[in-house]
Symmetry: C2
DNA sequence: ACCTTAATGAAAATGATTTTCATTAACAAT
DNA sequence: ATTGTTAATGAAAATCATTTTCATTAAGGT
């Protein structure tokens, strides 16, 4: 349920000498309760409903912080704004990739065949490291296409 | 060598009733002669050397057009600006993926896919088509990490 | 309750991209 | 070659996301 009191975040903040503030709890709460990939402004709007005095600047600042901390992930889906999601949440598969409909812009979290996929990815990363003398730290994998209903609309 | 007179582009333009203008030839020429992933402004700067009267606005407009036409590809590598490359060029492998150094920001094109990477793509695309009733049209795959020389600088 | 200083909020600044609009030039028709 | 139509251009202004600045507030250790 509500994630803002998740002791793991608390510990994580404390360890870095960071303070646990109302805006931070509010932002994490919003991200914890959605299945979508929200933009900074969308998060701000949501937070604003409960905490009308929290500013957009603070949302941006904390999204940056949370990303550095490895708590959230930032994506660029091509609509001109960054979008964020909690890396671990009850609402989401853990490791997943994205399927984006170029028609309606919906983003689908995809995690079928995860285990096999992760194993293949590891091998690919190893091969790349070796071939290009590159130490891989992360990846972005997105598939584009047309969803069922958009195909109907053609 | 010089690509601005490539008859295929000419045909492509004509078919759509588009005019073959100086700016368009200049932009294609720049993209055809680089191995890099240039931003709109970088392309503008390069074009400007030979055609000082071509404006940045026109560069943006034509990059958008060329992308729609499937002649160039637009990427987001996380530095806040879009970057473009010719889809087909003598300087580049055709379809390829990217390796991005988070240290020096260099982008490496690679198309020496290991079997696992091909397998991964095939499986995922099949699974996605089936499970999500999605017609896949493309994908973007980028690996982030630290290149050899950046690792030395630590 | 008090202090130190990290964190915040409002406003201004920045930077990339888009829009507006008057002018120019591609190119098809003459 | 000249003309006419209209797509394309360039300059300036507008927009939109994100960042910076700076004075004020409040977390949390004492
Ligand atoms: Mn996701
Ligand atoms: Mn490339
Ligand atoms: Zn769709
Ligand atoms: Zn590097």
């Amino acid at each position: 349920m509500n994630g803002k009191n998740n002791p793991e975040w608390h510990r994580n903040f404390r360890q870095r000498g960071l303070r646990i503030t109302e805006p931070r709890k509010a932002i994490l709460e919003v991200l914890n309760n959605t299945t979508e990939h929200l933009s900074a402004e969308e998060i701000y709007t949501e937070v604003h409903k409960t905490y009308p005095n929290i500013g957009l600047t603070t949302v941006y600042r904390n999204l940056e912080l949370l990303e550095e901390m490895g708590i959230i992930a930032k994506f660029h889906f091509g609509d001109g704004r960054s979008r964020y999601e909690l890396i671990q949440s009850p609402q989401k598969p853990g490791h997943h990739h994205h399927l984006i409909c170029t028609g309606c812009k919906q983003i689908i979290d995809y995690d079928d065949f995860v285990d096999e996929e992760i194993e293949l990815l590891n091998k690919v990363e190893q091969a790349l490291s070796a071939a290009h003398n590159f130490q891989i730290t992360g990846h972005t994998i997105q598939f584009y296409g047309i969803c069922n209903s958009c195909r109907g609309n053609l």
